[in-house]
């Protein structure tokens, strides 16, 4: 298993390299002047010439790429051109937003999608099944953008002044501050900058406020997370529900399920232990694959709900041709994707002991 993991990690290196080559080149060959994209269309030629020269953007692309790889090999993701800040620092601020959002979305999607799929499969062709599948089809085809605005409209505006009101944007209410755990626990003195790893952990507001007992902050953060994560979860939820249903249908028609029933096992034991466990493999696979959809959905969700996550930053960086951010974020997203898929593959062994990962 360890051998397998190492092999997988090594075999993912070419993938990463490919991702890098493609993003690096694409970002530079798309039409439009990076100087004007970053500095505005009134930037004079003089300013632009100096700017391009100073940032090394006039060098041949292979030369720029070689320089970038050299930095990357030392673990340096570079510095944003627009913000003059290290990419890692920007990631420390932006990635937690997306991770929280992504986890909440995936959690909601699985929590609702799997049971719906199971029920649909068990009540095959019943009205419940029909309703679920129609709902799933609508969910799959619902634009995240529209859905997000509708949710915000209903919960922030129509339900204004009711207990069901939910905030339409941001991570926390203006004025509410999530004090980092390392400050609460006195790990880092006031005014001193904490190590980036600690900042990264503390920027997961829900986790941070939970472990430090800042319940008001926790409540506020969760309230802010509800609408975006619902918007984000809709499509994966529908996909998971459909996959669960078809996988369960397949399994429930197997001989061993009939045998289990014939043995007189309780229906719940039949469904959960015999049918669901065997149906789980494709479901887990599809959940892993949803991560890609979550990232693309995150761009829109973060935009509508004014969340400064990786998705929106990446989108803005592409618009502004801030190459170091585009590259850095893409690498991190690619690594995240590779890790999740690795976890999915490793989980096969636990779910089905017949699978040997060697």
């Amino acid at each position: 298993m360890l051998k397998y993991t190492i092999r997988r990690i090594l075999s993912s290196l070419p993938v990463l390299f490919g991702v890098l080559v493609v993003t690096f080149t694409l970002a530079r060959v798309i039409p439009g002047d990076p100087c004007k994209a970053m500095l505005g269309e009134k930037a004079t030629q003089e300013v632009c010439d100096r700017f391009m020269e100073e940032k090394g953007l006039n060098d041949p692309i292979p030369q720029q790429f070689a320089a970038y790889l050299k930095d990357l090999a030392r673990g340096d993701l570079g510095t944003s051109i627009r913000f003059r800040r290290p990419i890692t620092q920007i990631l420390v601020e932006r990635l937690p937003t997306t991770i929280e959002l992504g986890f909440a979305g995936l959690f909601l999607a699985s929590l609702i999608g799997i049971p719906l799929g199971i029920i649909s499969a068990l009540r095959h062709n019943s009205p419940i099944d029909l309703a679920t599948m129609v709902g799933a089809n609508i969910g799959v085809s619902m634009p995240v953008f529209w859905l997000g605005l509708m949710l915000a409209y209903v919960f922030a505006l129509v339900l204004k002044d009711t207990p069901l009101w939910l905030p339409p944007s941001g991570r926390l209410t203006a004025g509410v501050v999530s004090v980092p755990f390392y400050e609460v626990w006195g790990w880092v003195a006031d005014g001193e900058e904490a190590p980036r790893l600690l900042q990264f952990i503390a920027n997961h507001y829900i986790f941070n406020s939970f472990i430090t007992g800042q319940w008001d902050v926790l409540k506020d953060a969760i309230r802010h997370l509800i609408l975006p994560s619902v918007a984000l979860a809709t499509i994966p939820m529908a996909v998971i529900a459909r996959m669960t249903r078809s996988s369960m249908l397949q399994v429930t028609n197997m001989d061993y399920v009939r045998t289990a029933r014939a043995k007189g096992l309780r229906e719940s034991a039949v469904v959960m232990r015999h049918a669901f466990r065997n149906a789980l493999l494709p479901i887990v696979t599809i959940i892993g694959l949803q991560l890609g959809i979550l990232f693309s959905g995150a761009i829109l969700t973060e935009t509508i709900f004014s969340l400064a996550g990786v998705g929106r930053s990446l989108f803005e960086a592409i618009t502004a041709r801030d190459f170091p951010i585009i590259q850095g974020f893409t690498v991190v997203i690619a690594i995240g994707y590779i890790i999740v898929n690795l976890i999915v593959d490793l989980s096969y062994g636990f779910l089905d002991p017949r699978i040997r990962l060697d």
Partner: protein
């Protein structure tokens, strides 16, 4: 006396005064340019001053033409001053008579003297035989002969060393004539202006310059960095004398007596030095003013050579006075420094941060709010600054947040999670107007959308065709159908909210008959299909305040052209960057729709940018327009410049480089209970005056997060808005868009708007507790404007606004 030198001398004088003021003591005296010496021997032992005979003379009426600085001119107080005047006063005192000056025209000054209108004339008058026939002259008091200027290390010691060299002169002057006649082995290089000859000398293009001694002295003194000096005495004689009417020998005698006494007593040298010499204490080391930064007596000075840059020197004159000297006149200086990038931070803070790093996140200003925290991606929290010098902010806490989508911003306003939102979508104007919980706030934004054509392509080279465009498009219909409420048909290129923007004749009325007649006349008759000719309409599909619906407006113009004028236009949409590049380079052969929004509120930001002699975007630039604009751009006073802008606007109307279509009207919105809510002409509203109902936090929602909070190096509205809460400038725009004094009590320009002097407000505190002084201003501007400053780092390092507003950076490569 050569009248054509007056202008040069006049401009040089301003520079002399500046340099005189600029060099605060300390440096050693050096080989100061030795222009002229009194021709008479000054070493005579002082004779016992003869007892004055007041009875004989009394008051002497002296005529002078006070337009020839530094010899004689009228100063800011309306007094006649100058070298001649000081000398005459000294002579009168020595000889015991009184003087009454009569300022008169130069033409006929000797006739008037001869006819007895006055008794004497002192007016830099050259002694000539011709004049001697009608008037008497005193002993000469000044030699304004030709002198030789060279680089200090040139080895040229006099005119005898000039064989085989290149000599610069001003075309048609005495120097030109003399050099041509007397220096057969020397190449004479003629320049239109003598300063150009000196620049050429400084650059090594010529080896020497021959010119009048006083003018040369002035130029050398004003430009010590050139390392130029005068060698030897003047080698020609052009002696100035005091003319006296022939029938008053007693006056002539008294003047000669007095002159001798003044020379003998050393008073002459004092006066000479006052007007032409470099006082010892102020002589800079090696004769060159250091380029870049220097600090004298704790006062900062930043200097640059004049290349493309406008700003030549930024100087703390004293603790509370800042002076900016320009290479070219800049009447828009106040409008520019009122713009957020030029706002002031403490010198110490800029130096401590090295011009980047923390400076990008924690601006320290004098403004009504100070930064409390910037929670990246989420919000910026501002707290009221209690020691604010003006009226403190009404709300204790101000929060900036952002949402990209117009719909999301409106939703937040309606939901009550924001108090004020910007950039309302035109689709939402009605919603906001009809909602009793909200206020609709039109923004008087100065912008223009125009339909341009490049006159180097047919048929746009024909004025009649351009005029037909000017009259043949129903602009009102475009506004009515595709622009939000509050937008206007453009009567001029520049909006009326900008001073002098819409002086002159308004644009043509919609007149189809005349437009079609013009096209017929231009030899473009309708074909069988009713079509006169084919063309294209180029645009980019990008939302702008001046053009919210580009695609629809393009099609509307296409329809109008076909229906009204028989012009068949194809609509072509281009990628934004490519469109800007091609249209502004004058490469588009059809019509194109483009626009402009104000950077700073001055008419030059609209007219000079678009109609200058170097802008090819409408084809061949029109001298009828740019020459007037160039003249106007040397006048600081808007009222004085008004007739010129009227002329320029009328020329634009007459020549039709483009057709101004619309001034778009953006809008903001606020919750109904926000008191004093009002949008500003440029930049964010005065949020510190707002009262958000009974809440203690005001939430301001914009479209994006600021990039950094060091606005010298930013151009995005979000950064500038945030900076404006925290920092302040010497001037700022009031709600009507006028530049009004803020950290300065006033700024004054010299005559031609090349030197601006600003007096700072006393007792203004920064957020860090320090007090505002002139060094803070100099360092703040140095960091942005001076390319070789160690603090010129910033965020992207582009420093676009300083570079763009002042033509180029100081000391740029």
């Amino acid at each position: 006396m050569q009248k054509h030198r007056i202008l040069i001398l006049f401009s040089v004088l301003a520079a002399i005064m500046l340099v005189a003021a600029a060099c605060g003591g300390g440096a050693a005296p050096t080989e100061a340019p030795a222009p002229t010496q009194p021709p008479a021997e000054p070493t005579k032992a002082p004779e016992p001053t003869p007892t004055p005979e007041p009875a004989g003379i009394g008051v002497v009426r002296v005529g002078t033409n006070a337009e020839y600085p530094p010899f004689e001119y009228v100063d800011d107080n309306g007094d006649i001053v100058g070298f001649d005047i000081d000398l005459m006063n000294a002579i009168a005192e020595a000889a015991g008579f009184e003087v009454e000056y009569i300022n008169t025209r130069w033409d006929g000054i000797f006739v008037a003297l001869a006819s007895g209108e006055f008794d004497a004339v002192i007016s830099a008058a050259t002694i000539t035989d011709e004049r001697k026939q009608t008037v008497d002259f005193s002993d000469p008091y000044f030699n304004a002969g030709q002198s030789l200027a060279v680089k200090k290390d040139s080895g040229i010691a006099g005119i005898e060393d000039l064989a085989g060299k290149r000599v610069g002169v001003q075309l048609g002057t005495t120097g030109d004539i003399w050099a041509t006649e007397n220096l057969p082995d020397t190449e004479v290089v003629r320049y239109d202006e003598i300063t150009l000859a000196f620049q050429a000398l400084a650059n090594g293009d010529v080896d020497a310059v021959i010119n009048d001694a006083p003018t040369s002295a002035d130029i050398i003194k004003a430009n010590p960095e050139w390392g130029v000096t005068i060698v030897g005495e003047p080698f020609t004689e052009e002696l100035y004398g005091i003319a006296v009417r022939k029938d008053a020998p007693e006056i002539l005698a008294a003047i000669n007596e007095g002159l001798a006494a003044v020379k003998a007593s050393g008073q002459y040298d004092e006066i000479f030095n006052k007007w032409f010499g470099i006082p010892e204490a102020e002589a800079p080391a090696e004769g060159a003013m250091p380029i870049g930064e220097s600090e004298e007596n704790g006062l900062l000075v930043i200097r640059a050579e004049c290349k493309n840059n406008k700003v030549k020197e930024i100087k703390a004159v004293d603790e509370m006075t800042v002076q900016v000297t320009m290479c070219k006149p800049d009447p828009a200086f106040l409008a520019k420094i009122a713009f957020t990038p030029f706002y002031i931070q403490p010198r110490e803070w800029i130096e401590e941060t090295g011009g980047t790093g923390k400076l990008l996140e924690q601006p320290v200003g004098t403004g009504p709010y100070m930064i409390d925290s910037w929670n990246r991606g989420d919000s910026i929290v501002f707290k009221r600054f209690d020691d604010y010098w003006g009226e403190p902010a009404k709300t204790a806490t101000l929060v900036f947040r952002w949402a990209t989508e117009g719909a999301a911003r409106l939703l937040e306003l309606q939901a009550g999670t924001a108090d004020y939102i910007t950039k309302l979508s035109p689709d939402d104007y009605e919603t906001v107007k009809n909602d009793p919980n909200l206020q609709f706030l039109p923004v008087p934004n100065p912008n223009i959308m125009y339909l341009a054509m490049t006159n180097t392509f047919e048929p746009w080279n024909d004025l009649r065709v351009r005029k037909a465009m000017a009259m043949g498009i129903d602009r009102q219909r475009i506004i009515d159908n595709f622009y939000p409420d509050g937008s206007e048909v453009a009567s001029h290129f520049t909006p009326c909210s900008i001073p002098n923007g819409c002086v002159g004749e308004p644009w043509y009325d919609f007149n189809l008959e005349e437009a079609n007649r013009l096209l017929d006349e231009a030899g473009l008759p309708r074909g069988d299909d009713g079509i006169r000719f084919k063309t294209k309409i180029f645009y980019r599909d990008v939302f702008r305040v001046y053009l919210p619906e580009p695609g629809l407006v393009a099609v509307e113009i296409q329809t109008q052209l076909k229906e009204n004028l028989g012009i068949d236009a194809e609509v072509v949409v281009m990628e934004s960057g490519e469109f800007i590049a091609e249209s502004t380079a004058g490469n588009l052969d059809g019509l194109y729709m483009l626009g402009w929004g104000a950077d700073y509120l001055h008419v030059t930001n609209f007219l000079d940018f678009h109609f200058s002699r170097s802008n090819p975007q409408f084809g061949e630039p029109f001298p009828e327009i740019y020459e007037v604009l160039e003249k106007a751009s040397t006048i600081a006073d808007p009222e004085e410049a008004a007739p010129l802008y009227e002329q320029a606007n009328n020329a634009i109307r007459e020549l039709v480089p483009m057709v101004p279509i619309a001034h778009g009207a953006p809008a903001d919105a606020a919750r109904a209970d926000v008191e004093n809510a009002k949008a500003a002409v440029l930049g964010p509203p005065d949020l510190w005056t707002f009262v958000p109902g009974d809440r203690d936090t005001l939430i301001y929602l914009k479209a994006a997060e600021p990039i950094s909070l060091y606005c010298m190096d930013e151009t995005d509205g979000e950064s500038l808005d945030a900076c404006k809460m925290v920092t302040e400038g010497l001037y700022k725009y009031n709600a009507d868009g006028e530049a009004v004094p803020t950290l300065a009590t006033k700024c004054e320009a010299n005559e031609d708007a090349t030197v601006w002097t600003c007096y700072l407000r006393e007792g203004v505190k920064f957020h860090d507790g320090s007090t505002l002084d002139a060094n803070d201003v100099v360092r703040s501007w140095d960091a942005g404007l001076n390319a070789i400053s160690p603090y010129h780092v910033g965020n992207t390092g582009a420093f676009e606004y300083p570079s763009y507003l002042f033509d180029s950076l100081m000391n740029a490569e």
